[in-house]
């Protein structure tokens, strides 16, 4: 078995040591740091991009929030204005209605008073005429001259009875 030929051990071990150490040094000092740097650069780039994306997303969200706040404020203001205007119009309408009602009431009162006056006046005239008629009728029928006061009293009594 050639593997057990001890005479071949020294050259194999010497060249194994040389080649292995050379390869180790080349990898440890040159090759692997280069690969690690490339990987690290890529990882950093990706992390940076992710961070930037995160930041932009946050900014976009802030803008959306501000927009929504402004929208809500505008809506509230519009509602406020609408309410104020409605209130004002309602108040004006009520005021006008009250004034009209007052005027109507006053006019109605005045008219009623006038009617009452006319009625009283009419009733007063009626009493005098009735008393005159009653006196004239009595003089014609009986020939007796009735005292004006008595005739008036009689008319009054009848009118009170009938009214």
């Amino acid at each position: 078995m050639p593997q057990l030929d001890i005479a071949t051990f020294p050259p194999q071990l010497i060249w194994l040591a040389i080649t292995f150490i050379v390869l180790y040094l080349l990898m440890a000092k040159l090759g692997l740091p280069r690969i690690a740097r490339a990987l690290e650069a890529r990882r950093e780039r990706i992390d940076g991009d992710l961070e930037k994306a995160q930041q932009m997303k946050a900014e976009a969200e802030a803008v959306i929030a501000a927009y929504e706040r402004a929208l809500a404020e505008a809506r509230q203001q519009a509602q406020q204005t609408l309410k104020e205007t409605t209130d004002r119009l309602n108040a004006e309408a009520a005021e006008r209605q009250r004034k009209v009602a007052e005027t109507l009431h006053a006019e109605t009162g005045a008219a009623e008073r006038r009617i009452a006056q006319a009625k009283t006046a009419a009733l007063g005239n009626l009493r005098e005429v009735a008393a005159e008629v009653a006196r004239a009728a009595a003089a014609r029928l009986t020939g007796a001259e009735i005292d004006a006061g008595r005739a008036a009293a009689a008319v009054d009594a009848v009118m009170r009875e009938r009214s």
Partner: protein, 242 residues
């Protein structure tokens, strides 16, 4: 080139005889393949990452995947604090992988089929890991041989077993790789010998050899992985004591 002996392929040939102070340091066929492995690994890593692009090309991706594969292996198996040993595990993995794969090339040489080579790698791992454990934990490193939650009486039995299983690690680690390579390449050589001997019927052993080559490619990758992952697990023991 037909070899009578299927083990002939493992013979060391001194390509450039060198002797330094009576020590044989000849540049052998094994040394040639080792050097080739180093050159191939280094040039592949350096060329594919020459212009380290933010978006990697095909070849750069291969190198990065290899790196992340080993880094992930170290992270998950050796755990926290094992990153400084990544270059060693990476070197070990790629060196054995290339040794195994280059050995699959006909007329090449499989240096991982040499017990002295695999043992040297395994004992390096063993000594390195033991030193790391002692430096990190001092005498506390001996706790590694005392299992938790075991009645003290059983410890009389278990501590020697733990100690033994620790000490035989370099042997199991080296023999696993060596035996796999030896068996695979010997099988290939035996069936290849039949191809010539059987004439026209040699098509059958040839088919077997084709299948074996595919199997051996799998074994080549798998054994490099096993060697590296066991190194990581031993490292985990040294760093975290179970």
């Amino acid at each position: 080139m037909v070899h009578e002996n299927p083990l002939h392929q493992f013979t060391i040939q001194r390509l450039i005889p060198i002797h330094i102070g009576g020590v044989d340091a000849s540049f052998t066929n094994a040394a040639l393949v080792m050097t080739l492995a180093v050159v191939l690994i280094t040039s592949f890593v350096m060329l594919t990452t020459r212009r380290a692009a933010l978006v990697p090309g095909r070849w750069q991706s291969v190198t990065e995947m290899l790196y992340e594969f080993v880094a992930d292996m170290v992270d998950t198996n050796a755990g926290h604090g094992a990153q400084p040993y990544l270059p060693f595990v990476f070197t070990l993995f790629t060196f054995i992988l290339l040794g195994n794969l280059l050995g699959m090339i006909p007329y090449s040489y499989t240096f991982t089929g040499q017990i002295i080579v695999t043992f040297a790698l395994a004992i390096t791992v063993f000594i390195g890991v033991t030193i790391i454990g002692i430096v990190k934990h001092g005498f506390g490193f001996l706790r590694l041989f005392v299992p938790h939650g075991v009645p003290p009486v059983l410890l009389i039995l278990l501590v020697p077993i733990e100690l033994l299983s620790y000490v035989i690690r370099p042997f199991t680690l080296s023999i696993r790789l060596f035996a796999n390579m030896l068996a695979g390449h010997t099988m290939l050589a035996i069936f290849a010998g039949f191809v010539v001997a059987l004439g026209i019927a040699g098509i059958l052993p040839l088919a077997v050899d084709v299948a074996l080559v595919l199997l051996e490619l799998l074994v080549a990758v798998l054994q490099a992985y096993v060697f590296a992952i066991l190194t990581c697990l031993y490292l985990a023991d040294a760093l975290h004591l179970h």
